[in-house]
């Protein structure tokens, strides 16, 4: 029955896509045939995988963790696929294109969280948890309040991240494929719902692996194509670029101006990465701590390599796209002067793909960008759905003893609801300034999820009261400080001066969270708190040795 539904949905989504193409032809003059055909191949292949995965996704464990049987290498690739979003591909190469060196500073910030995750989080997380990081946080604390807190942090992070991805995807697809914005957003939403509801973690993982492979291959080709024009000499590439844009692109610019912002951004990126629910969830898909470590090793390699490529790609765009009459947005130039490129700076990598590989390669990179969006939103939605079905439904409502069939149903309903929320928000936010959204997601992950998680693993004196009060204060202060800060208070709400002067609140909100957790834990003299402290020893032994940890399914 389920498979027939799936087939029906596959066919109808292809039909929806086809009608989109026809409408696109009417409204847009640039219809990218090679991009669309490659994208259709990708969608066909991933839906095929979803069909295959659906037959293997029977229990909640299959749904949340693909049965725990993913290898370290596969998981490393999938983590990279989860983390290298279209925003980081197009955004960072666009930033390098615009500001040069600042783009490198920014991308380094996104990478350095990974070693920290490996050294202090990955192992205990894998050894203590089952499906979500809330399993770990609530291991020896009271289930209900901790689960509710962790699920709120997760859902907030997921929805913010989803909004950013959906708006970005709508605009990108509109531009690349000539589809209407709304149709693009609906298409992404529908495909993501299909992958996740039917194929669960197994399908999501493979979508991410394929996408990571395509993205890394495409970016490698582009970087080599650029370098080959300069006989593989960085000196030649950079000196040509400085002739065009001046020497400033080789030095730190305005991205980081004062020490407080610098440290605050660094903390948000580092601790935020270690608190992203869709990333943490990936550690439960491998069989043991050994594979979890390998995952991070491979993921760090892929992501680091990718950032080096985006730096070369950004410079490639400076020499091959900037001032190239083919890519100049003449309408915008007439109004504002300069040499703006079609679709804005974030399209630098896309135009470069055309410059180095013609229409066919442009088609490939466009399809990869779309695939990237699909993979990232699927991972996010799965993490959000598991926070709802595993943490809220199974652990809070059903006291940790749910009917497995019911739990699966809840997770699927949650996926559909999140998908619809993402579509609606995506359409609502089309013309809003969403620059703050990803920053806020990282700030919440760093201030609410991360402190509770890390202290639950290592600090014996942590109590439920401390975790709940401190975690909530971290969440609240992150939100409030972003709203009162320059991006929302001044740029969006139009006030003259920001009440909170810094763009990145993490330094303050993370400090608030840790201080509050500490204070409200050590002043907790309840009987319950005493028990929680006594239970730390057994938890710590399991976290260190893996004795008693969840294993993989026998498939």
């Amino acid at each position: 029955m389920m498979h027939r539904v799936l087939l029906f949905l596959i066919i109808s989504s292809i039909t929806l896509f086809a009608t989109g193409i026809i409408e696109g032809e009417v409204t847009k003059q640039t219809l990218n045939v090679s991009a669309i055909s490659m994208f259709v191949i990708f969608v066909g292949a991933t839906l095929g995988i979803t069909y295959w995965a659906a037959k293997r996704t029977k229990s909640p464990k299959d749904f949340y963790t693909a049965g725990g049987g993913i290898t370290g290498f596969q998981n490393g690739m999938a983590i990279a696929g989860d983390y290298m979003s279209a925003a980081s591909f197009l955004g960072i190469s666009g930033l390098v294109y615009l500001k040069g060196y600042d783009g490198l500073i920014y991308s380094i910030g996104f990478l350095v969280g990974w070693p920290i995750i490996l050294f202090i989080i990955a192992e205990p997380l894998r050894n203590l948890g089952k499906y979500s990081f809330a399993d770990v946080a609530s291991y020896r604390l009271r289930q209900k309040p901790i689960r509710i807190l962790a699920a709120s942090g997760s859902i907030a992070t997921v929805i913010l991240y989803l909004i950013a991805q959906m708006v970005g995807s709508g605009k990108l697809i509109q531009l690349l494929f000539g589809l209407e914005y709304e149709i693009a957003v609906i298409l992404v939403g529908v495909l993501m719902i299909l992958y996740v509801t039917f194929g669960g973690m197994l399908a999501t993982t493979w979508v991410q692996i394929i996408k990571a492979f395509l993205l890394l291959s495409g970016a490698t080709f582009m970087a080599f194509a650029v370098m080959s024009q300069y006989e593989y000499s960085f000196e030649a590439l950079f000196s040509h670029a400085t002739e065009i844009k001046g020497l400033d692109i080789m030095s730190p610019g305005a991205l980081i101006s004062d020490p407080i912002s610098a440290i605050s951004l660094a903390i948000a990126l580092m601790f935020g990465t270690a608190g992203l629910p869709h990333i943490l969830m990936r550690f439960f898909t491998v069989s043991d701590a050994k594979e979890a470590r390998k995952s991070v090793f491979y993921a760090t390699g892929f992501i680091g390599y990718f950032y080096i490529l985006t730096f070369i790609i950004g410079f490639g765009a400076i020499v091959m796209v900037f001032q190239n009459p083919q890519y100049i947005d003449y309408a915008k130039q007439a109004l504002e002067g300069g040499s703006p490129i079609l679709g804005g700076n974030n399209m630098a990598a896309i135009h470069l793909s055309h410059a180095v590989g013609g229409d066919l390669f442009l088609g490939f990179i466009s399809a990869v960008a779309f695939a990237t969006i699909l993979a990232v939103v699927s991972g996010l939605t799965l993490a959000g759905a598991s926070a709802i079905s595993h943490d809220l439904y199974a652990s809070v409502l059903k006291n940790g003893d749910p009917d497995h069939k019911k739990e699966m149903q809840v997770s699927k309903i949650a996926t559909v609801v999140l998908g619809i929320v993402a579509i609606v928000m995506g359409i609502m936010f089309e013309n809003q300034n969403i620059a703050f959204v990803v920053g806020l997601a990282f700030a919440i992950a760093a201030s609410a999820n991360f402190p509770v998680l890390i202290l639950s693993m290592y600090w014996s004196k942590l109590t439920t009261r401390g975790a709940v009060i401190g975690g909530s204060m971290g969440l609240l202060s992150a939100v409030v400080l972003v709203v009162l800060g320059p991006i929302v208070w001044v740029d969006i709400l139009g006030n003259a001066e920001a009440i909170f002067p810094y763009k990145y609140p993490a330094l303050f909100s993370v400090t608030v969270a840790f201080a509050a957790i500490y204070y409200f834990s050590i002043t907790d003299y309840s009987h319950r708190a005493k028990e929680e402290r006594e239970n730390f020893e057994a938890q710590f032994i399991r976290s260190q040795t893996g004795i008693g940890a969840e294993g993989a399914n026998e498939h």
Binding site: P115, I120, K294, G304, I547
Partner: protein, 108 residues
Amino acid sequence: MKKEFVDIIKEDNSYKELVSKRGRFSIKLTLIMLFVYFSFILTIAFKPSILSTPISSSSVITVGIPLGVFVIVLAFVLTGIYTYKANGEFDELSRKIDENLIKSINDA
């Protein structure tokens, strides 16, 4: 985990060795990463001119570029070192702890 297992393991020498060795190792690597990254970021905040110096008088490449790439490569190398050591030496200790536990249970 049962109380008696906890009591056995916490007195186990391999366990003590694992916790102290790995703890020290993780902290050392974490501090290296934090030190390098924060030095980089704070140099940008306080004295960006250091990073803007060309690597040689005839080059447009600034010191900041190899340094930035170094931070990326370092992150990867550190994860490699940790994974190598943990998957070998530390997992061997974990295996011993497991064995000792089973032995103590059988003896009892």
